[in-house]
Amino acid sequence: MQCSRGLEREGFLIDKAFLGGGVYSLRFETQELLPAILPGQFFMVGPHRWKSDPFLLRPFAVVDGSENGVEFLMKVVGRGTKDIVSCERGTSFRLRGPLGNGVFTATRGRSLALVAGGIGVAPLLCAWKFHSDVISSFVFGVSNRDWAGVADWASSKVSGLTVASDDGSLGCKGTAPDVLKKEGDFIDEIWACGPVPMLKAVYETFGGKSLIMASLESRMGCGIGGCHSCTVKTQRGMLKVCHDGPVFDLSEVFLDELI
């Protein structure tokens, strides 16, 4: 997280594509240059027309970034995301970022697998872009066929993506950790992002054997480590997802306390 030039800048929505399942891909362009973005980093995002209601910006992981642009994958879940995806192209946004110091970092010579659940695929797509050479498998688990569009879109970016669905209506049948287990021989390290139950399943299946680095979610206020809103309980105390994460070693995190 670099802040000398400031993290708060204006961006314009330049592209919006509906991928099905309530998920959109959104691309923004900035006039000011963006600092280099690392996989796992995120932005706090909101249109300028949000004055005081909605009041808080919303955090979204970077899928892809460049010097003057950034792409997100956004699932509509509440009023904020609903309003964001209703914006026309050209709408002016606040883009605060890139945020997060705990990122996905590959270590030479270690085998690496990625496991995503639902919209958790977003930061892992970024991780893939950086580290595809060392990643042996990438499993993307979804609930059902509603996700077909997102899965196709992700497959177009990730060669050899394994799609799995709970009901078997898309890709292999089974949860992402189950499928990864079937796929894999011994894996040194797993990068994960998805709903808490999935993270727990990953930890139960691979914990102890593999190092599991997971990108966590939490409700956020500032995104810069100022307000202490976004903490998770870990062996090292209450850590801030925005500042100490969002990527954590799962063995340090009290999984039952995740909200």
Binding site: C3, S4, R5, G6, L7, E8, G46, W50, K51, S52, D53, P54, F55, L56, L57, R94, R96, R219, M220, G221, C222, I224, G225, G226, C227, H228, S229, C230, T231, K233, G237, M238, H243, E257, I259
Partner: protein
Amino acid sequence: MSLSDVSKSLPDLSISIGGLTLPSPLIIASGLWPHDASFWQEPYSAGVGAICSKGLTRRPRTGNSGIRIWETPSGVLNSIGLQNRGVEVFVKEELPHLAKSGIPVIVNLAVESLEETIESLVLLKSVVKDIAAVELNVSCPNVDCGGMAWGMSADGVSSVLGVARKVWEGELWVKLTPQAFDLPAVGRAAEDGGADALVVSNTWLGMAIDVETKKPVFDRIFAGLSGPAVFPLALRCLYEVAGSVSIPVIGCGGVCSDEDVLAMLLVGAAAVEIGSMLMHDLKCISNIHESLTKRMVLWGVGSVADIIGKGRGDRF
């Protein structure tokens, strides 16, 4: 109301509060800004008059479990629970870096027990040169171990100042809680106890239910409301207290724009603290500073002092 008519040269935004002079009336409120020196510099420092530390306690606190922040209409409920590393770590590891920034540091000290308050102030005394003022937080609604109690009554505040004023000779501010019944009386008690300034005020006690889970959102059920929603309430409290004491009063609660700052100055604030708005826009202070300057030029007002208290009208 007559604002003195001055030349069109750039207005002077510096202000004084008791013995302290600040370059701008815009102060970052406690609990919003990282104790991380990289944020105590350009571009964030532009227009900032001072920064309040996160609320500190004698000993480290892990803060509250569960959800800590929840958006409400034009507002934010928070239940952080004073997570902080304790006064000692602050003094040794954090303050030296922050002080180097040149931005005046206001140390927000959460008043738990009187003993702990004395101990904390003694520790802070050793670094008094790095501290612009201590702000006693007698308001935090998230803590059940006394923090609420002190600010609720004139007696409580008198007790706190009785001990604090003996130990701490530097600038001493008291940040009141709007939950107090008779805020002017509490303010007068602080003034009588030797406070150099008052901050009016802190968050308002609220709550939220998550309709999906059918349960209170916060583990501690109640949480503090801040943000634009509370501005009309904070302005009224400020008006009342500013009319009842003769020490400077600093406005706090829901400030988002130069209009809000001016409203607070007009009813009698010597400065304002800005909290939640920083979550909305990290650069809001420099933006407000700019538009405030422009408006002062437009009004032909040369200094902030010429605005303070000039818009109170008459109550009945």
